[in-house]
């Protein structure tokens, strides 16, 4: 990766982090009347994958999709406005945090039904294959989603039809408070994918370089028409499943586990690394942070100043056309 690209990765991860932190901060004022699922700690995956996608490549995601939305180039103002359930939000206030969309950058929407986006993304990839439009579809989901039958049904189909789809499982070890060990006999989700004959890899999801490297090859393979690829990215979410709590101790996640993972912060590590190779300086870093902070300030102002939908709109869009 050249220096420019390295910095871009850093910037985008930082942007996601700072946006999420600001959301967490503002959430207590009860103006964002929507359930939120923060991605803090998981930023490297969205960034590492999405930097290898073109704007018109498709993206399908889940309840936890702020990071992917931003990494794919989604409009920040519209995202924050959606969290404030405003008419200017990306879903006009009908979706909330769990239902983000920005079709201008190929993001086709997110599902709050676990495993629900997997067939949809697979179907978009089918369309690309039938149309020969050269697009690749990226489908994100968690270690919980792989429990669902849609995972199996979709991967079998994608392998069979050699669809241009990249499956990314963000294994953060938890589905709400249920650990992956409470739900699977083994620890290698990627082996499931492999059994369909899909090239499958388990990688460090907190290392944006590793993720990007794997995603780059995967996207190329998809683009060449050789069929799907599966990436299991090991990571950890810093926040509790929902909202701004931490869910540590007291029957929740063990403090040691939590501390261990915080020490593996994908952004902290990457920043250090960039400094060590001379790509990042304190000054540059500050500049980046200031620029992001400005964008965030604008986005929240935009959102808060935007009108809410009006009751008369209730029945709009039940049907299209």
């Amino acid at each position: 990766m050249d220096h420019q690209s390295l910095l871009e990765c850093y910037k985008t991860m930082l942007k996601i982090r700072m946006v999420e932190q600001r959301i967490a901060e503002e959430y207590k004022y009860d103006e964002m009347k929507t359930p939120i699922h923060l991605s803090i700690g998981q930023e490297a995956i969205a960034v590492g994958v999405c930097r290898n996608l073109k704007p018109d490549d498709y993206l399908f995601v889940t309840h936890r999709s702020h990071a992917q939305y931003l990494a794919k180039g989604g409009d920040l103002n519209k995202m924050i406005a959606e969290l404030y359930l405003r008419k200017t939000g990306c879903s006009s206030g009908r979706g909330g945090s769990m239902h983000l969309i920005d079709t201008t950058v190929g993001m086709m929407g997110s599902s709050a039904i676990v495993g629900g986006d997997i067939p949809l993304g697979t179907g978009a990839a089918l369309a690309s294959k039938l149309k020969g439009d050269g697009r690749v579809t990226a489908v994100f989901f968690g270690d919980g989603a792989v429990d669902e039958g849609t995972f199996h049904e979709s991967l079998n189909f994608a392998a069979l039809k050699k669809l241009p789809v990249l499956y990314i499982c963000e294994n953060n070890y938890y589905a709400i408070n249920s650990t992956v060990f409470q739900r699977h006999a083994r620890e290698d989700i990627f082996r499931w994918a492999e059994s369909y004959g899909i090239p499958s890899f388990q990688i460090d999801g907190n290392d944006v370089l590793k993720v990007s490297e794997a995603a780059e090859k995967a996207v190329e393979r998809c683009r060449r028409g050789e069929g799907p690829v599966f990436l299991e990215c090991l990571t950890y979410r810093w926040k509790g499943h929902i909202g701004t709590v931490d869910d540590v101790g007291n029957g929740y996640r063990p403090k040691e586990e939590y501390d261990y993972w915080l020490s593996k912060c994908p952004i902290h590590w990457f920043g250090e690394y960039l400094r060590s190779i001379g790509v990042l300086t304190d000054e540059l870093d500050q500049g980046i942070r200031d620029e992001i902070a400005k964008q965030i300030e604008e986005a929240f102002a935009f959102a808060k100043n935007s009108p809410k939908p009006s009751p008369e709109e209730l029945m709009d869009h039940v049907y299209a056309g």
Partner: protein
Amino acid sequence: MPWTTVQVEKLGEFFIRGNSDSGRILSYKDALHEATDQALARDPRVFLLGEGIDDPAGVFGTTKGLQEKYGKDRVFDTPICENSLTGFAAGAAMAGLRPILIHSRMDFLILSLDQLANHACKWNYMFAGKVPIPLVIRTVSARGWGSGAQHSQCVQGMLMSVPGLKIAAPATPYDAKGLLIGSIMDDNPVLFVEHRWLYKTTGDVPEPLYSIPLGKGAIRRPGTDLTIVAVSYMVVEAMKAAEKLAAQNISAEVVDLRSIKPIDEAIILGSLAKTGALLVTDTGNITGGVASEVAAMVSEKGFSLLKHPIARVCCPDCPTPASDILEKAYYPDSDTICARALEMLKQ
């Protein structure tokens, strides 16, 4: 847009057309085949998928030869995974195609309600119209020969409660073609309910492409004493019943609902304004079915028109038995309709 020049049926026109006009007689099955063939020919976005649709039998003849004609990319067999199949189709629709997904039995639709009800039917609303899903799901209800509890269900009633879904249920060959085209042209998920017992019925079907928009019923037989609102195969039984009732000097008007979501409220209320009596008959179980919805709508919006209690003639609230004897007891027919009509007109 490949569909802008298609003739769209006006309700008035239909009554003549459906019964006599073109002089070209096709079966319901062939009408479905022709509509599919013509849609594939006209619009490269249309494609067909489903379990066994390239089978030599071709979904009871309705897809026969289409793979040979349009290639394996546009007409293809799939693994057996109804829920995800629905998602594949919906995803492809999001990406601009117009899939037709076929379930050879309606029972299998039940496996797919997550992707249908939670996803395909909600997407347009959740995202404020940004990603419409023009998706047709053909589903065939079967009946008889001991098909039994898991191979004969008519669950259109269950599906009525899904916001964002449209449901077509043609009873005539003319409608089979026109509503299938109308469903393909529609920008929403449409459940297209067929019934095996209708496949051999024949009727007038014009050769050119024409489309019937969803939500319009049709009067199949005019009458003055009683309105029979019928769905899918029950239109046939209702027509027979009307004949039998006529012999007893009762003039029944038969309304073929044609689409069960949205319901053509106007045609029902209009008929009731004449007759003051309503019998609703559907192929599904009585409780929570289409007939219940029609009855509820009328008891709300047409109460003042009613001179008699409403009657529902549907399957009783039990799974389908395999036994031929029990099947006979289970399925209502024209005699059931007549008996219930007479009883109700006395009240």
